[in-house]
């Protein structure tokens, strides 16, 4: 097999190349999304204390008031402060997304690695199961699961978790397959290194990049799915505030109270966008081809300075 001439890759003999995270913060977009994410996380943690009004305090005479000095986001049909409820809802929306994605990550990546690394009939069987799961559109499958197990927080987490498992399985399998054929893994096998060590030292770090990117994107879509399920009245149940549920309640008041719909939707949009942008940023840093591109751009910028 004639060898291709190694392309003009100058072996940089001195110093480690710019570390991943420094490259990440190069682009302003990533910085902004990281800051927004930080804010969202802080609000999720300290939500209740930040809220100017008690979340479930009903004050019907003060219902449906537009945004004002007292109520920055106005009040809803029961007179509750929309700003406070949006802040407190951050926690539940994030919690559902994180738990669901964690479930999908563990199960999905487990399945993906086993079928990608082991291969053979196990791979075909697992992948057929994944294909079946993919045949069901995300929303409908989640709906069906919630219908069977009843609405509520735990079932929503489980439904979203189940629905996102196949995506992780495919990402993990694809990268595991790619890593398995890498010479440095084959050398380990020829040296008699056990599967456990190969998986731990070579396969897992090898698939870390794509899986991290997928995690960030899935959290974004997890938030969207929770909001959608709650919007359909099947996710988080009242009086516990959740963005989706607030939009569901706002549906009847679109004519009179636009603010009931605008602000919770905005909160969903901002947090989902932040996770999406970070996902993209991570992809650029973790994908070798993109990383060298970023490094040359960094060189160019230093040249111009």
């Amino acid at each position: 097999m004639t060898a291709l001439v190694p392309d003009e890759r100058a072996a940089t003999a001195t110093g480690r190349p710019a570390a991943g995270w420094r490259l990440l913060l190069d682009s302003p977009v990533n910085v902004v999304s990281a800051v927004v994410l930080l804010v969202v996380l802080v609000v999720a943690l300290l939500g209740p204390t930040l809220a100017p009004y008690p979340v479930n305090a009903v004050d019907v005479p003060a219902a449906l008031q537009p945004p004002s000095g007292a109520h920055w986001f106005g009040t809803d049909d029961l007179g509750r402060d929309v700003l406070s409820r949006t802040l407190v809802a951050t926690r539940v929306s994030l919690q559902v997304a994180l738990v669901a994605v964690a479930f999908a990550l563990v199960v999905g990546v487990g399945v993906g690695i086993v079928s990608g690394y082991a291969g053979g009939w196990l791979d075909t069987v697992l992948m057929r199961v994944v294909d079946v799961m993919f045949a069901f559109p995300v929303m409908l499958l989640a709906l069906a699961i919630v219908a069977v197990l009843g609405p509520g927080l735990t079932t929503t987490q489980l439904a979203i978790g189940i629905v996102y498992t196949p995506i992780f399985a495919r990402v993990a399998r694809a990268s595991a397959l790619a890593v398995r054929v890498e010479p440095y893994v084959q050398v380990s096998r020829t040296m008699g290194t056990g599967h456990a060590l190969i998986l731990r030292r070579h396969v897992l770090p090898g698939i870390a990049g794509p899986v991290i990117v997928q995690t960030s994107l899935s959290i974004a879509f997890g938030i969207l799915s929770e909001a959608a399920l709650s919007f359909l009245g099947l996710g988080v149940q009242p009086p516990r505030p959740s963005w989706g549920r607030m939009l569901f309640d706002a549906q009847g008041f679109l004519a009179q109270a636009w603010w009931m719909a605008l602000f919770p939707g905005l909160a969903i949009f901002v947090s989902v966008l932040a996770f999406n942008l970070l996902g993209d940023g991570l992809r650029d840093v973790l994908d070798p081809r993109q990383r060298s591109l970023l490094r040359t751009r960094r060189l160019l910028r230093e040249a111009r300075r």
């Binding site: 190694p6 392309d7 003999a13 480690r16 440095y184 050398v187 290194t193 770090p205």
Partner: protein, 556 residues
């Protein structure tokens, strides 16, 4: 000395602060071939692409001058200030996209390295050839099609009429490169740029392409700039040679002067490092050594899944050979000959359909469990690509230490560190580099780490699968010396797999020639190289560029 087709003066290319090309000048006359040779990272491709205005690297700044001679009898092309004496050619450096478009394809043709990606997979070949004719010669599609047919014939494509409507995936690598040449020469350009055109091809196909280009050049008087890393090939095709190193022009001389009286030390080193047939042989090994490895009737078949169904590839077909302890068996063959598959069977990566493999009395294929693990210690393997045979995320020390941990060959953390240090020094690398990461080392240094890792197993047999093929000629020479020293000191037995016969001759005591999975010929290296019995072996040997350029007579 007629007027040059392309005259390049003090060409410089820089990206940001890094200056890739540092002042290169050359010229090429009609009917002449200029060879540009340099190792990886020398900037040879970038130089030519910058000179012809095809460079699209982001942020690249090109300075200097590159003037292309006007077409004979063409209307006065824009007068170029400061061009060569009296010539009114086209200045390509800094030219507008429109000017470059008028010149590309019409006055300058290009052939690139990788035939599998250079042609549009969804466009019939006839259209791809005819395109530049329609753009530059204003031909109608029908006229362009007939011209394309003639071109296909000219480049030696079998039944050209049927091939007009075929697609690239229906041709072999060599045929695709021939179509590339047809594309480049469609408008009968004055200059042909060939950027490593044969590097991706087998030796025999490479020879045919070289012959084709020379014939076409002879008929059409085209000037050719041939870029390659292979000094031997350049010696065969070029009239004049420019040697580049790290973007600098080291030497530019007619080819014979260069080979016989190299001025620059680097050129001398390149020439010396070139493995040439009949020049060097391995140190003699103990002739009566007992056979270490015996392989009988080895047969391997691979299932291949294509979009349209499953087919089988018969990779190894009834191969038998033996390797004596302390000796090196060279395994030679073109791509697809099954030489790597044999290596994978020996190291347990692939399970054969049939055949027996015996390592000093142990049945290699029959072992299970602990015995299998012990066997793995006795056969080590070094892969081809230095960049992917080391895990980028682990330090050099960790990689070398892995076999030590797996087989418990060193006690405790410092025991391992000490052993790793010893192994690094064994392959002429400083022990301190154990904490470095692979991307901090050059290709040659990484290959030495791979060898150190293989030696950590204290193996008896080392399988080297194209281990030096990816290295530059100079570095390859030093690694081969290291292997020879290790064989002498440690009495190692090598199975050396390669496609470069000169390299095989230099290291092998015995040689095995493979073609499409079957053994063509096998025997002591000296006798096989001196008097090859099989026609295929003879063809392989003939395809290697001669030591002396164009068979010129020996200097006085």
């Amino acid at each position: 000395m007629s007027a040059p087709v392309l005259a390049v003066q003090d060409l410089r290319v820089s990206i940001g602060t890094a200056e890739i090309v540092r002042g290169v000048s050359f010229a090429v006359e009609p009917g002449q071939t200029l060879g540009i040779v340099g190792e990886s990272g020398s900037g040879k491709s970038m130089t030519v692409l910058a000179a012809t205005g095809l460079l699209d690297a982001p942020g690249a700044v090109v300075t200097g001058s590159s003037v292309l001679a006007p077409a004979p009898g063409a209307a006065g092309s824009p007068a170029v200030a400061g061009a060569g004496a009296g010539t009114t050619g086209t200045q390509l450096v800094g030219a507008s996209a429109r000017t470059l478009r008028r010149v590309h394809g019409d006055r300058v043709g290009f052939v690139f390295q990788d035939p599998s990606t250079s042609l549009n997979p969804v466009l019939p070949l006839g259209r791809q050839i005819g395109e530049s004719l329609e753009a530059h010669r204003g031909m109608t599609p029908r006229q362009a099609r007939t011209r394309a047919l003639e071109l296909l014939e000219a480049v030696g494509i079998p039944e050209p009429a049927a091939r007009l409507d075929a697609y690239p995936h229906q041709l072999s690598g060599g045929q695709r490169q021939r179509v590339m040449i047809a594309v480049a020469l469609a408008c009968d350009p004055a200059l042909l740029i060939a950027d490593e055109p044969t590097t991706a091809l087998d030796v025999t196909t490479q020879a045919q392409i070289v012959a084709l280009v020379q014939a076409l050049q002879h008929d059409r008087g085209t000037a050719v700039v041939w870029i390659s890393h292979d000094l031997g090939l350049i010696g065969q095709v070029a009239d004049d040679v420019t040697v580049l190193r790290a973007g600098e022009q080291v030497e530019s001389r007619p080819v014979l002067d260069l080979v016989d009286r190299p001025q620059h030390a680097y050129t001398r080193e390149l020439l010396a490092a070139r493995p040439l047939l009949g020049q060097s042989h391995p140190a003699p090994a103990y002739p009566a050594a007992a056979p270490l490895l015996t392989v009988e009737g080895l047969d391997v078949r691979f299932p291949v899944v294509t979009p349209t169904g499953r087919t089988h590839v018969h990779a190894v077909d009834d191969v038998s050979f033996t390797v004596r302890r302390g000796h090196t068996l060279g395994v030679v063959g073109e791509s697809g000959s099954g030489k790597s598959t044999i290596a994978h069977v020996l190291t347990g990566l692939v399970a054969p359909r049939a055949g027996r493999v015996d390592l000093d009395g142990v049945d290699v294929l029959g072992q299970r469990g602990a015995a299998l693990k012990a066997l793995r210690r006795r056969i080590a393997m070094v892969f081809q690509d230095p960049f992917s045979s080391l895990n980028g995320r682990s330090t050099v020390g960790t990689s070398i230490a892995e076999p030590l941990q797996v087989h418990g060959l060193a006690r405790g953390r410092d025991g391992v560190r000490r052993r790793v240090g010893e192994l690094l020094e064994l392959v002429d690398l400083p022990a301190g580099w154990a904490d470095r990461y692979p991307h901090e080392l050059s290709g040659g240094q990484r290959q030495r780490v791979s060898i150190a890792r293989a030696l950590a197993l204290e193996p008896e047999l080392v399988v080297l699968d194209e281990s030096t093929a990816s290295l530059d000629v100079s570095i390859q020479a030093r690694v081969l010396e290291l292997l020879a020293r290790l064989q002498a000191e440690l009495g190692l037995t090598y199975l050396f797999i390669a496609h470069d016969l000169a390299v095989v001759e230099r290291v092998s005591h015995d040689v095995l020639v493979l073609q499409r999975g079957r053994v063509v010929e096998q025997g002591p290296a000296r006798q096989l190289f001196a008097d090859p019995r099989e026609p295929y072996t003879r063809a392989l040997l003939a395809a290697i560029p001669p030591v002396r350029p164009r068979g010129a007579p020996e200097p006085a």
